[in-house]
């Protein structure tokens, strides 16, 4: 235990249900984003913030794969893999409950699909300053707004959250999915009363970066019916901010004897709140209220911090954002990770002279006489001569034969594009073979049988 104030947890047990087209048989957290798997980015972020140990929550069956993938990356973190049973249907809250024993202090929770260069210190400082129960990070949405989703045209409806934040204090007032609301948004009076302006945001994205108090997981452990963190527990906790300590309970909770078992359901039971704490809060200069009762007497406090506008933040949780981050990665690489990591792997064989903002992974063979722009080439992929590839993602072991024109496409693992094909806005599934001279636009070409085979494996 070196960094004792905060522990960090990265969730990497997601199944990636929103990007089936590109996932293939690999775990979601190993999706290639530029030279590294997806999970490397949140881990790197933590490393930059001087974390030395991270708990990574993975599915049992995927553990070895993830472990070996991460060993190939220049990470110095000590990773503690917490496995959850592969056959279980755990939500994020269930997973947290499952690794309860490992959490010894206040902790950060990150999702494996976060690609960001945001500075977490303002978030953590807000958390410290106000002795908060929770602080979460919000990004402006719109990173992928200029990217066209390849594949057949479908109505892509991004999931949106409605987030209420008190302007003066940055306290979270509510957080709910827009789809959960009906025609009107109901706002309880106490959220508005005496708290000044309430800003309601509809285009912010929850970055899934949470700073949490230790007692929160104690409370979560008790609430066994809650299975997802974002969807259920978070709104629940935010609502609990305004619950008041019942008057009859003796204020002196420092005495262990006075613990009332019936009260265990109440969130306030979990909040360490001694007389001394109260005094500290009252006399602190950081309690943001000079004349009133600090924090309106709220014991549970949740904060929402917006990342600065120039910060990069994407959650790679659907195909569109996956393509978007890959396409833009070369241009934002320096801001994202600094120059330390080469974009074109030393093992890649790049003979092409006309390249612009491309990323090539180990052992990718990019032949001469090709024009390659804004694209990502996965490990062991082969691009033959006389090809034009733009705005595309060529995944591992894919082969593009001669004379093809590929624009805004995702070419899946081990897929093969035979010579003379012209593809625009297409998704080519894993192992699919595009026949010679195919002209295709906005299509999803995949081999259903292959999918079946993968499933059996």
């Amino acid at each position: 235990m070196t960094n004792s104030e905060f522990q960090a947890v990265v969730f990497a047990a997601g199944r990636g249900t929103r990007l089936p087209e590109v996932l293939g048989d690999a775990p979601k957290c190993l999706l290639p984003v530029g030279p590294y798997p997806l999970i490397w980015y949140p881990l790197n972020l933590l490393q930059q913030h001087n974390f030395s140990e991270v708990i990574v929550v993975v599915l049992e069956q995927e553990r070895l794969e993830i472990q070996s993938a991460l060993e190939n990356t220049p990470l110095k973190l000590k990773l503690d893999y917490a496995t959850i049973p592969s056959d279980s249907d755990f939500g994020t809250a269930d997973s947290l409950r499952y690794i309860y024993d490992k959490i010894k202090s206040d902790f950060l929770v990150l999702s494996c699909d976060l690609v960001s260069n945001v500075n977490l210190y303002p978030l953590i400082n807000k958390f410290r300053e106000h002795d908060a129960a929770l602080a979460l990070l919000l990004f402006p949405s719109g990173f992928e707004s200029d990217v066209v989703m390849p594949g057949p045209k479908s109505k892509h409806k991004p999931e949106r959250d409605v987030i209420g934040i008190h302007a003066a204090t940055q306290r979270l007032a509510f957080l709910s999915a827009a789809s959960d609301c009906e025609e009107t948004l109901n706002i309880q009076r106490h959220l508005l009363q005496n708290r000044g302006r309430l800003d309601v945001y509809s285009r912010l994205v929850d970055a899934h970066v949470y700073v949490l108090k230790k007692w929160v997981i104690d409370y979560l452990r008790r609430k066994e019916n809650i299975s997802t963190f974002k969807g259920e527990f978070l709104p629940h906790l935010i609502k609990k901010q305004h619950s008041k300590r019942p008057l009859k309970v003796v204020q002196d909770t420092t005495s262990e004897v006075g613990v009332i078992t019936k009260n265990e359901d109440n969130v306030l039971h979990y909040v360490p709140h001694s007389i001394l704490d109260q005094k500290i809060t009252q006399t602190s200069l950081f309690n943001q209220s000079l004349s009133q009762n600090p924090y309106h007497g709220d014991v549970v406090r949740c904060y929402g911090i917006q990342a600065p506008k120039e910060a990069i933040g994407v959650r790679v949780n659907n195909t569109l954002s996956f393509l978007a981050i890959n396409r833009k990665l070369a241009s934002i690489w320096n801001e994202l990770c600094g120059e330390k990591h080469p974009l074109i792997s030393p093992g890649a064989l790049v003979k092409s002279t006309q390249t612009k903002e491309i990323i090539a992974a180990d052992n990718a063979k990019l032949s001469e006489k090709t024009s390659l722009n804004f694209s990502v080439f996965g490990p062991n992929c082969i691009i033959n001569p006389k090809n034009i590839v733009a705005n595309s993602l060529i995944m591992s072991n894919a082969i593009v034969e001669e004379g093809c024109n590929i624009d805004n496409c995702i070419i899946g693992h081990r897929a093969q594009v035979k010579s003379g094909s012209v593809l625009k806005n297409c998704i080519i599934g894993p192992n699919y073979v595009v026949e010679e001279g195919t002209h295709s636009q906005a299509a999803h070409l995949s081999n259903a049988d292959q999918f079946m085979e993968i499933d059996i494996q």
Partner: protein, 671 residues
């Protein structure tokens, strides 16, 4: 050329808009000329405009046009402080009945050439509106559909006087998206904001408890919008209409908030009158404070500590003046009186040993000895005789005379019986308490503007808000009391309608209709069967739900005279064939009784009469004796203790009768 001409800043002042709250003084003269801390309200508004650099003002008056014209003329003649660098025109006519009419009239007269400041004559503000006007002009340059910029002020207290708002504003451009007046009486527990408003904008700021001082900057299009939409009566109609039809009318409203240091309030009722008086005396509206000579440029008062303003010409010897008192010239207070938080007009006479708290005396009022006045307004020239006790928001009309030893609370008094005009122009007999004192009932005088259907609290009795102790906020403590219960309640989701519930609902519908229309039971059976297949119900479920549906019909759930047995009898008479179609076998009967068990839990009327109902079903051969006994056997001793108890007698009786029957049979066999 227009662009070389300097654009002059114009303003419109609407006088006497919605004055019902100022009864009975509103019947005796223009409320714009009502003195507020001894300065007429109109003067406050004019000064505010003058301070904001307005050069031309149109005062729009209706009923008391001549009075206002005279006042303006006198003001100009005596060099009132607003008359410098500002021309004031009084326009209007008797035909104008509401705010909307005034705006339409202004549009027809084509007096307004550009953007203008729109103010009520009852607004008191020290705000400089020039920056707001500039903001409006910038906005209008950017958005051609800018119709108005409304000016609001953050509310600092927890008092509700009907001027408080909840609005939703786009953070980027301050455009108004939602506008709701807060209730005066019963506080809302939650607010409902349309989701479109929030999803349509990336960030919407909700401002709760803003004061609406009735200040706005209007574009020329605002007037024509009133002309085009003749149903706009009030400013709120205009706002609402524009928000609903923003695309159709291609007009948008923007919002400007006054900085915290500036004061603005609307005096639209007696409590507001009290509040604003207090604020002026407490110098919140500086420089609009009594000793600054708001109207006349001369020193009228000497300002003492504890906010006591006393004229040199006033005689107050051996009088205890506590805090916040204004006494104008020529007034005479006798010894032994105690005055606090009050305004005393010119030439008042106050007798010995009077107690005045929160009292507002107009000019020439006489209060005789030993009176106690509290939270009341006394009109000009009124006389309160000895030993009166007037309190809790009383208003005495001008020249009324209160007989000695009168005790009044929450009453409005007028001097003549004829001043009250009812809507039908029928003279209403007023209760008299003296030759020059008649009680005005504030309930019978309907307000033509407030009583239309748009009012969002129609169930509230239309009473004139009365003065009272404003300092004690109504329910600051109770604000959070309702939280703990309703937070979990709001989480609880209503159970999703599963197939069984939908099926039950459909059967209830079918049966209710069949019962009402007395349709052929065969058709009903057909209907139920088709529902059954639609929702894939097993026979057991159908049996159960049909019986439940019969008891779920409206006529049984809420029977006439609470006589559930009669209702059940009627229902089974009509629907009996349907029920017996399903309830045939012993098992089905058991299902039927189980359904009854459910109904027993839900319906208290059935609970009372359960044994009679079971007996009735037995009588009519819907259920057999064996089924009842089998059912009774399996009822849980603890869970259904009460039900078992209710049925015990019946079952015992059934046992007995069956034994008898057995005996009978035996006997028969014997024979």
């Amino acid at each position: 050329m227009a662009q070389f001409e300097k654009e002059i800043v114009q303003a419109v002042l609407i006088a006497d808009n919605n004055v019902w709250n100022f009864k009975p003084l509103s019947d005796e003269g223009s409320t714009a000329l009502l003195p507020l801390v001894n300065v007429k309200m109109l003067d406050y508004a004019l000064i505010a405009l003058n301070r904001s650099g307005v050069e031309e003002v149109f005062v729009y008056a209706s009923l008391y046009l001549q009075d206002i014209r005279d006042h303006i003329k006198a003001g100009i003649a005596t060099y009132a402080s607003w008359s410098f660098k500002m021309t004031v025109h009084v326009i209007g006519g008797e035909g104008c009945r509401c705010f909307g009419d005034a705006m339409r009239d202004l549009d027809a007269k084509a007096l307004i050439r550009g953007n203008f400041i729109l103010l009520g004559a009852d607004t008191v503000t020290n705000a400089d509106l020039r920056p707001v006007l500039e903001q409006h002009k910038r906005q209008a340059k950017f958005d051609k559909g800018t119709a108005a910029t409304l000016v609001f002020k953050e509310c600092s207290n927890n008092v509700r006087l009907g001027n408080e708002l909840l609005i939703a504003v786009d953070r980027r451009n301050d455009r108004l998206h939602y506008h709701q007046r807060l209730r005066t009486y019963q506080k809302e527990s939650r607010y409902q904001i349309p989701l479109d408003v929030i999803l349509g904008n990336s960030c919407v700021a909700l401002h709760h408890k803003l004061l609406d001082p009735q200040i706005a900057i209007g574009s020329p299009s605002m007037l024509s919008l009133f002309s085009d939409n003749f149903d706009f009566q009030t400013r709120d109609d205009f706002v609402r209409g524009l928000l609903i039809n923003e695309e159709l009318l291609d007009s948008r409203i923007y919002v400007a908030l006054l900085p915290a240091a500036q004061y603005a309030h609307k005096v639209n009722s007696w409590p507001a009158y009290q509040l604003v008086s207090r604020d002026i005396i407490n110098r919140w509206a500086y420089p609009l404070v009594p000793e600054m000579g708001v109207y006349k440029l001369q020193q009228q008062y000497v300002f003492h500590k504890d906010n006591i303003y006393k004229s040199h010409e006033a005689q107050v010897s051996k009088v205890a003046l506590h805090q916040n008192v204004v006494i104008q010239e020529g007034s005479h207070v006798d010894s032994g009186s105690v005055i606090s938080d009050s305004v005393i007009g010119a030439n008042c006479r106050i007798g010995k040993n009077c107690r005045l708290t929160n009292v507002f005396l107009m000019a020439d009022v006489t209060v005789k000895d030993n009176c106690r006045l509290e939270h009341c307004v006394v009109g000009a020239g009124a006389i309160v005789n000895e030993e009166c006790d007037v309190s809790a928001g009383c208003v005495l009309g001008a020249k009324s005379v209160l007989p000695a030893k009168t005790t009044l609370a929450k009453t409005l008094i007028t001097s003549t019986p004829s001043t009250q005009r009812s809507e039908e122009d029928v003279a209403v007999e007023l209760e008299s308490i003296g030759p020059h004192a008649f009680i005005v009932s504030d309930l019978t005088t309907g307000d033509p503007e407030d009583s239309d259907g748009e009012d969002f609290l129609p169930q509230q009795p239309l009473t004139i808000p009365k003065m009272g102790d404003l300092l004690a906020p109504l329910d600051e403590i109770s604000d959070c009391s309702d939280l703990s219960d309703d937070e979990d309640a709001s989480r609880a989701v209503t159970p999703l309608p599963d197939d069984t519930n939908i099926f039950l609902d459909e059967v209830i519908d079918s049966l209710s209709r069949g019962f009402r229309e007395k349709s052929n039971p065969d058709f009903l059976i057909l209907e139920i069967n088709s529902s059954r297949y639609a929702y894939n119900m097993s026979l057991k479920e159908v049996n159960f739900n049909v019986v439940k549906a019969v008891f779920g019909m409206q006529s049984i759930v809420e029977p006439a005279n609470n006589n559930v047995l009669v209702a059940i009898n009627a229902a089974f008479k009509q629907l009996g064939p349907v029920v017996s179609n399903y309830i045939k076998s012993e098992d089905a009967m058991l299902d039927c009784l189980k359904a009854l068990e459910d109904v027993y839990e839900e319906n208290p009327l059935v609970r009372e009469k359960i044994s009679q109902i079971v007996h009735y079903l037995y009588d009519k051969d819907f259920v057999s004796e064996d089924a009842i006994q089998a059912w009774f056997e399996q009822l849980d001793e603890e869970e259904h203790a009460h039900l078992r108890q209710s049925l015990a007698k019946l079952v015992a009786w059934l046992d007995q009768s069956s034994e008898e029957e057995d005996d009978d049979e035996d006997e028969e066999e014997d024979d």
